[in-house]
Amino acid sequence: MSLLVLQDVGKEFGAIRALSHVNLTIKPGEVVGLMGDNGAGKSTLVKIIAGNFPPSHGRILFEDREVHFTKPVDARSVGIEVVYQDLALADNLTAAANVFLGREMRRKVGPFSFLDHAAMNRRTAELFRELKSETRPDDVVRAMSGGQRQAVAIARTRLAKAKLILMDEPTAAISVRQVAEVLDLIRRLKDAGIAVILISHRMPDVFAVCERVIVMRRGTKVADKPIDQSSPEEVTALITGAKEAA
């Protein structure tokens, strides 16, 4: 069974063709690197999968059923979560508050419903333990390291029981040790049977955790091959156009 299938997907913005004839398949628990230069169509592709806008043509199948996303909530409801580059966290709230933001656990007291702080902290601590992240549920996000922030953003997706997680440049602008933490987090997700699409400019990261690499150039898919049959040199050549296709 395939988790996500894109068939002949294309997208035009007015006269600009951002994406054309993209076919791709993601299997459950697969970690796939999505690479390409700026303007290659990566983010357009990701936004279509995440439900930010529908494709101009083509079909999307999730778990073998055709889906039509028009807003992010649609994609989330079938099990597709996005970890945004800026992580979309509220700095002034605690880790637990961010993990549960928009889906808080509540306790009914008469006609009122109050936040169940204890239960949310407990559940968040569990998620961090699973991710092997040293992050306290009741610490405020403002004071956290880049790796911890990633853990919070990823814990959010775990809470939602995501089947596919799109990660947009998770290792941009963080320290070496934190990059290692994030790559570990991705491995944890794979162990749990969750598919990950890793959008990255960083060749070493992609080659460290991905099983397959997809390369985009000028709105088309120019390569889609197992990582062990490729090399950073080949991928670089594909990205820049020095090599046409593989």
Binding site: L89, D91, R103, S133, D191, A192, G193
Partner: protein
């Protein structure tokens, strides 16, 4: 959860690797609100030595009543500030609500409403708060739905509403009349166990606001909006609804305080609470609300409003020209944020 098999390696729940700030450097104790509260207590102690009149029950009741009106509106405005917005229209809203309440009460006296106990008063209170509700809805709609800037929208509303207050009354003060007027004075300007009711309203509302902000999903969303509005929207929070709600609550707090002021003054002049919006925002900021959003609470609102009133009162008791009060309040606003700034600098360096 069961789907994660604990992989080989050490469990990471001892946090040996991650430091934790000491208890007195986080939470309430590390907030600007706590610093200002300490300053407030110090000022009150100094003042009680300097002037024997300061701690007299008459003076304390006076201070308490004066600061309650500002304090109640500061609660509402603090909600708006926490979301990252601002509400400049509250002073005008206080006036128009007060005037509407008084005029409706006048109009109903002598009609069939006189026959039903309290009906006239309840309808006029409803009318006063109803006007505030409409102003809040208009602010909220223009800011949340249409996307106008909160500063410009509420600045416009300040002028519109103040103008309406003058136009409706033609500049004449409106006194509440009718069969329920004694009851009206009791619930707006009376005392309960020797404490002015306005103080009790303020404390009850502050307590409710504290619970709502920290223990309900709505309160959490208010903070989330101020922390990262985009993130809040992405997680599916109804951003527009929360925003409209805070502007409505802000306007309602202003309307309520305006009506209390009618009871205090015995009349609703068209220039009621002119310029209060700045005192109110100053009180919120002194109490620790951050105009960038995401930080603030009812304790800060109450403490900020009280500090301003205690200083005003102190200057009066000391026989210092009242104009110096304005200078001093400005200085305190800057000092309060300056101290907070120095403290955060020290903590991050």
């Amino acid at each position: 959860m069961s789907e994660f098999s604990p992989a080989a390696g050490t469990e990471t729940n001892d946090f040996s690797n991650v430091g934790r700030t000491r208890w007195w450097r986080r939470g309430f104790f590390a907030s600007q609100t706590a610093y200002v509260a300490a300053a407030l207590i110090a000022i009150m102690i100094v003042m009680s030595f300097l002037s024997s009149a300061f701690l007299s029950s008459g003076n304390l009741a006076n201070v308490a009543k004066n600061f309650s009106f500002v304090g109640i509106v500061t609660l509402g405005v603090t909600l708006v500030i926490v979301t990252g917005g601002i509400d400049l229209s509250v002073g005008s809203t206080m006036a128009l609500s007060a005037i509407t309440c008084a005029i409706v009460m006048q109009a109903l006296s002598g009609t069939v409403f006189d026959g039903i106990p309290l009906a006239g008063m309840i309808v006029s209170l409803g009318a006063g708060l109803g006007v505030a509700l409409l102003i809040g809805l208009a602010n909220g709609f223009l800011i949340a739905r249409v996307g106008l800037s909160p500063f410009v929208t509420t600045l416009g509303m300040l002028s519109i509403v103040r103008g309406l207050a003058y136009a409706v009354t033609e500049g004449r003060g409106q006194a509440p009349t009718g069969p329920d007027v004694d009851m009206f004075y009791n619930i707006t300007d009376g005392n309960l166990a020797g404490i002015p009711v306005a103080v009790i309203y303020l404390l009850v509302l502050a307590a409710i606001m504290g619970v709502v902000l920290h223990h309900t999903a709505f309160g959490r969303h208010v903070f989330a909006l101020g922390g990262n509005e985009k993130a809040a929207a992405l997680t599916g929070i109804a951003v527009e609804r929360v925003k409209i709600a805070v502007y409505v609550l802000s306007a309602l707090s202003a309307g309520f305080a305006g009506i209390l002021m009618v009871g205090w003054l015995g009349s609703a002049p068209a220039n009621l609470a002119t310029g209060y919006e700045l005192t109110i925002i100053a009180a919120a900021v002194i109490g620790g609300a951050n105009l960038n959003g995401g930080i603030g609470g009812p304790a800060g609102a109450v403490i900020g409003a009280l500090l301003i009133e205690v200083i005003r009162n102190g200057l009066v008791l000391a026989g210092i020209n009242a104009y110096w009060q304005i200078v001093l309040v400005g200085g305190i606003i800057i000092l309060a944020v300056l101290v907070d700034r120095l403290r955060t600098l020290r903590m991050t360096s």
